[in-house]
């Protein structure tokens, strides 16, 4: 069975603070993909990153960085120097080898960045 847990329901920070969103996943498959999506109030899911299970290298893209650790089944997302425009709901998702187009989403973390 596949499962994604985002324990943080809501986080509030002040602009320019760093913030980390946690994601823990469960799967028995050895080949899988992990994703982060951003959902602004408009509702459309915006793709942020995809990692496969064989690539544990951390990745940095501008103010965004991701830490993938198979040993702890975690795929955490850090925003450095947060901005008001980062306010949104962030979802972590998993897809596994038997159907890569079937995504299992976490319940999401709502990030509020205050000026």
């Amino acid at each position: 069975a596949q499962k994604v847990t985002q324990a943080q329901t809501e986080i509030s920070v002040v602009e320019k603070e760093d913030v980390t969103l946690d994601c823990v996943y469960e799967t028995r498959d050895t080949t899988y993909y992990l994703f982060w999506y951003k959902q602004p109030p408009s509702g459309e899911l915006v793709f942020l990153i995809r990692r496969n299970s064989f690539d544990e290298q951390n990745e940095i893209s501008g103010r965004y960085s991701w830490n993938f650790q198979k040993s702890t089944s975690s795929f955490n997302f850090t925003i450095t120097a947060s901005q008001v425009v980062d306010s949104a709901v962030y979802f972590c998702a998993l897809s596994a080898a038997y159907n890569f187009n079937k995504f299992y989403f976490g319940s999401g973390t709502k990030l509020n960045v205050k000026p």
């Binding site: 899911l45 979802f91 159907n99 890569f100 187009n101 079937k102 995504f103 989403f105 976490g106 319940s107």
Partner: protein
Amino acid sequence: DAGVTQSPTHLIKTRGQQVTLRCSPISGHKSVSWYQQVLGQGPQFIFQYYEKEERGRGNFPDRFSARQFPNYSSELNVNALLLGDSALYLCASSFPTGAGHNEQFFGPGTRLTVL
């Protein structure tokens, strides 16, 4: 290039009615997936269609059905609507290849309200 489009944007129905939601994938994409997102939760997988065939089904009752047309657009039908069917319905398209997984691109969703 146009992204994934969905229609209608919003829909209000009463209990017991039937509804049809429509999705047009990105040009060249042959796979369409449907997700239900209840307020405050992550999206839940409903169906995936590829080359007009059902390739995956989530844990939803038979009141939910879908199909994919020769032009790869798709319809999601829900019969005998219940109050609990009120949700944002998201469509995602991807271009699967034999090499493995490709990312999914989500549409803006259809907001269904059942009264």
